[in-house]
Amino acid sequence: MAYSGKVIDHYENPRNVGSLDKDAPNVGTGLVGAPACGDVMKLQIQVSDSGVIEDAKFKTFGCGSAIASSSLATEWIKGMTLEQAMSVRNTQIVQELSLPPVKIHCSVLAEDAIKSAIADYRRKQRGSQAQVGQA
């Protein structure tokens, strides 16, 4: 498959590879995809008190465009508010990376990973508020 220069750049020099502490209250973790489908993305966000994503990390099992899509996603959402990050669309990733039609699912997975990480963070926040309320 002939990839765009941007996919190759993200693949060869992936941004923000790594892991954050998944047990930290201000970290949200999204794990999407399945090994059997050939793609698994783990995307994590660290959120400041003011609701801004101050750090994002990813690890991906998948093809070159899956790795590039998740690398790009972490690059974009760093510095965004949760609301802004929620509005990132897979079509923007497709456009930026010039993904061919057969690779569009990689961008869908990246969008899902962002949303899943945010949902996890929000769930944790609600949980800790509930605990505060009970105390």
């Binding site: 498959m1 990839y3 190759i8 693949y11 992936p14 590879v17 892991s19 794990l31 999407v32 995809g33 399945a34 090994p35 059997a36 489908c37 050939g38 793609d39 698994v40 993305m41 783990k42 690890k59 991906t60 099992f61 998948g62 093809c63 070159g64 899956a66 790795i67 057969v102 699912h105």
Partner: protein, 406 residues
């Protein structure tokens, strides 16, 4: 010394034309341009003589006689002609065809086409090492079986089938036995008599000959008949009309002659290179799985799964090395290799497979370079892999409820 890049290790896909083959072909692009079917002048006679010499060379490589060789455009056409031609010709005897799930698409899709016109096809499963069990063939044969098509060696995993035993079972029931021998001929011993083969598909470009030329062996004693699928001038004794590709056929002949003459030595050398590659990778990389059989395997073939690393991503990382993958991401269908799946390779491992195909022009330096590169890149990709991270921290990946699991 660092080898010259890029390195070609995809010799199951195609092989480079041997310089000796090219040299033999060149005159037939130049002054010896005649049509082998022209009976009235020296141009035609010279072309015909060259074609007949090549026929003998190809026939000799499989223990056949020149009169049993029909030229085609390649193995896909040979497979189509063999199966459709025999099915059509023997239709009054029955309508049942037997093949195996790991056959090449040229065989499987031909069988699917025949199913649409009233034939019944049994697709036999294979053992875990990819071999077809001769007893399974014997059990599947019925009085209505007219054609059995089983490959000599598999293109993806290099597994060699017990064609002699299979052929014996087929002939005991009087069906026509077709062998797609494209990947095996010139690499391992094969002859039509011990295989009990009636029809054999061959391709020039898998044995260091040119693309666009193949052959079908059609047994004469006892005579096997096929109905042609291309009509025209009645070339090739009516079995395959069309002006012959004289330079290609001359190249095929030379390639077959060289492969037969050098097989013993070349297969020893390729086996040593293949084992150097396999053991070299296994010494440097953990969590690999060899796909297919180690015992019944083409000497130049290596197919390995690298757990937790997706095959296409690894191929991209090995960018100066030409290999192929059974990963879904390399196909338009998004389904991983049907051959690996049929062998019982779990789907997540099929996604991580890489096929290395060593050939005549590969060197030890190249193999050592590839071992290094694979070790380095698998390490890098595993550091990026969430599955590797989970496995290292003791999480059982199979216990996770994955979304969208098929």
């Amino acid at each position: 010394m660092a080898p010259k890049l890029p390195i070609y290790m995809d010799n199951h896909a195609t092989t480079r034309v041997d310089p000796r083959v090219l040299e033999a072909m060149l005159p037939y692009f130049g002054e010896e341009f005649g049509n082998a079917a022209s009976r009235s002048h020296v141009f035609g006679w010279n072309a015909e003589r060259a074609v007949e010499q090549a026929r003998e060379q190809v026939a000799a490589a499989i223990g056949a006689s020149g009169r049993e060789i029909v030229w085609t455009s390649g193995a896909t056409e040979s497979d189509n002609l063999a199966i459709k031609g025999a099915a059509e010709f023997y239709r009054d005897r029955g309508n049942h065809i037997i093949t195996a799930v790991t056959e090449h698409k040229a065989v499987l899709d031909t069988c699917k086409r025949l199913e649409k016109s009233g034939f019944e096809v049994t697709y036999l499963p294979v053992e875990r090492d990819g071999r077809v069990n001769p007893q399974a063939v014997a059990d599947a044969l019925t009085d209505r079986t007219i054609v059995v098509s089983i490959m000599l060696a598999n293109n993806e995993v290099g597994t060699i089938n017990p064609v002699a035993e299979i052929g014996q079972a087929v002939k005991a029931r009087g069906a026509v036995f077709h062998v797609d021998a494209v990947q095996g001929v010139g690499k391992i011993p094969f002859d039509v008599a011990s295989a009990h083969a009636d029809l054999v598909s061959l391709s020039a470009h898998k044995m260091y000959g040119p693309k666009g030329v193949g052959a079908l062996y059609v047994r004469r004693k006892p005579r096997v008949r096929i109905t042609p699928i291309i009509d025209g001038g009645g070339h090739e004794r009516g079995m395959r009309s069309g002006t012959l590709n004289v330079p290609g056929i001359v190249g095929f002949g030379k390639a077959a002659e060289i492969s037969a003459a050098e097989m013993a030595e070349e297969s020893k050398r390729l086996l040593a290179l293949r084992e150097r590659l396999r053991l070299g990778i296994e010494a440097r990389v953990t969590d690999t799985v060899l796909n297919g059989s180690l015992e019944y395997r083409l000497p130049g073939s290596l197919n390995m799964s690298f757990a937790y690393v997706e095959g296409e991503a690894l191929m991209m990382a090995l960018k100066d090395v030409a290999v192929s993958s059974g990963s879904a991401c390399t196909s338009a269908s998004l389904e991983p290799s049907y051959v690996l799946r049929a062998m019982g390779v779990p789907v997540e491992m099929a996604h991580t497979s890489i096929r290395f195909g060593l050939g005549r022009f590969n060197t030890e330096e190249e193999v050592d370079y590839v071992i290094d590169l694979v070790a380095q890149k698998v390490k890098k990709l595993r550091e990026m892999s969430p599955l590797w991270e989970m496995a290292q921290s003791g999480v059982d990946i199979k216990s996770i409820q994955w979304a969208g699991q098929r």
